[in-house]
């Protein structure tokens, strides 16, 4: 069983206009920059993106948003040091936002992956973000009913992958990625190194290959934070 593909372009080639995508990462860590840039190159649009943030600077998710490829963003924190790409489109009404508390976002994604259509959480009770959500009382306390989140595709950055798609992640670059790999119909992974099956110890696999569909090796991958500190842009030379 070999899930590898030679290039990021081939890995993302089946993503179509109107798809829903989960993209791993939190702030400057864990974003699959090369996969996102390959996605930009395909020209797809009308995407719904599920990510914790709205990208920063002019690369990765921020570049995808800047190019008006995203019709809706589902996230917890679309503000940051440089989230102008999103802010401009949002204030001019060109992008929809579904704001979700961070823990609820993580749990909704896990629920999507785990076949749990809805669950109850105390998070958000009594707030604006509870609007339209069923409230139920358990043991004398109120909880909101929240629904699962699923996606057509997940774009994930791993540290090591084997050819069957078993994954490990580097430090806190793990964040949402193992959950998103579970919740997407097709999970596409860029791995810093690709190893033979059996090289990752069974007890140390973080995401089992059953959750992974395609793997491309991107050695020495870009780090969102590092690119932004260099004021990088994608495509290169882009001005806006």
């Amino acid at each position: 069983m070999d899930k590898t593909l030679p290039t990021a372009a081939e890995a993302v080639s089946q993503i179509k206009d109107g798809s829903t995508l989960m993209i791993g990462g939190f702030g400057g860590s864990g974003a699959p920059i090369e996969l996102i840039h390959a996605l930009i190159d395909t020209g797809v649009r009308n995407l719904t993106i599920i990510n914790n943030n709205a990208g920063n600077g002019h690369i990765g998710l921020a570049a995808l948003i800047r190019q008006e490829r995203v019709k809706k963003l589902v996230c917890s924190f679309p503000r940051g040091r440089d989230t102008q790409s999103f802010a401009d489109l949002y204030t001019s009404g060109k992008i929809d936002l579904e704001l979700v508390p961070q823990g609820t976002l993580a749990e909704r994604i896990r629920a999507g992956g785990a076949g749990i259509p809805a669950f109850y959480t105390p998070t958000g009770v009594g707030t604006e973000l509870a609007e339209g959500k069923p409230v139920e009382e358990f043991e004398g306390k109120s909880y909101l009913q929240e629904r699962w989140l699923k996606a057509d595709f997940a774009l994930i950055k791993a540290e090591v992958a084997d050819t069957m798609g078993n994954l490990t992640f580097r430090m806190a670059a793990r964040n949402f990625s193992p959950l998103m790999a579970m919740a997407a119909e097709t999970t596409i992974v860029q791995a810093g190194s690709l190893v033979d099956v059996g090289k990752i110890l069974p007890e140390q696999v973080v995401t089992p290959g059953i959750f992974v569909d395609r793997v491309v090796e991107i050695s020495d991958p870009a780090q969102e934070e590092t690119l932004n500190r260099m004021d990088a842009r994608y495509p290169e030379g882009s001005v806006t």
């Binding site: 076949g115 078993n166 579970m182 089992p208």
Partner: protein, 227 residues
């Protein structure tokens, strides 16, 4: 008839062999404890199948030699297994996320009864003993496709394929294919659809051993297995 039937019907190993032929290369599969476990012995050459067990292993392999068991490596039937290259270990909630979340391609389970609407009864005979359910209800409601391997009739000669299950249900409308000791039968919108039967049995005979109508859509193939 029972004696005659015993002579012509497939053995469990032969049923398992037939079921194994349908498992596609690259599938993630859960085999129920007991008889279904036998299917792994007949995996066709050149196909890679990755076996899942509820207690947190993906990619387990053959049983170890006697005396070589590692009792921290067991399957859901509590039998010792080994790990194939590429195996992974995880906790029970992640294991059932795989099941319930639709990540497994196939589960092959045993059955007490299967109804023509795909209902399955395989966890309780409704008696007074100690009830036990294990992961059966999770599997039938989560795995993409559920198949059954079973004798065509009970030890008493009663049909196990029925119009409506009389034993406690495991799941509703969940079974899509049944490999019996006499036939291969799909569960479709109109009910049981006969795909293959052993040559030694006529369609009428087979129908008489089946508790609901056997539909025939096209040619019924000959159910052939190695001796």
């Amino acid at each position: 008839m029972s004696g005659a039937l015993d002579k012509i019907k497939l053995t469990n190993a032969q049923i398992a062999w037939r079921a194994a032929q349908d498992i596609e290369d690259g599938s993630y599969v859960n085999l129920g404890i007991g008889f279904p476990e036998m299917i792994a012995n007949f995996q066709p050459d050149g196909r890679e199948v990755i076996y899942h067990t509820e207690n947190g292993i993906l990619g387990f392999g053959d049983a170890p030699a006697q005396g070589e068991e590692d009792w921290d490596l067991i399957n859901a039937g509590k039998k010792a297994v080994t790990l194939n290259p590429g195996a992974s270990i995880f906790h029970h909630a992640d294991s059932f996320a795989m099941v319930r979340g639709g990540h497994l391609d196939l589960a092959v389970l045993g059955a007490y009864q299967v109804a023509e609407n795909g209902d399955l009864a395989n966890w309780s005979t409704g008696g007074k003993g100690v009830p036990a359910v294990g992961g059966a209800m999770d599997l039938v409601n989560g795995v993409k496709r559920v198949a059954v391997v079973t004798d065509h009739v009970t030890k008493n000669g009663d049909p196990k394929l029925v119009q409506s299950c009389t034993l406690p249900l495991t799941g509703l409308g969940c079974v899509s294919r049944i490999y019996t000791s006499l036939a291969v039968i799909d569960v479709a919108a109109q009910g049981f659809v006969l795909r293959e039967k052993i040559d030694a049995m006529s369609l009428d005979e087979l129908q008489s051993l089946t508790g609901a109508e056997l539909h025939v859509e096209r040619n019924v193939e000959s159910l052939k297995v190695p001796n």
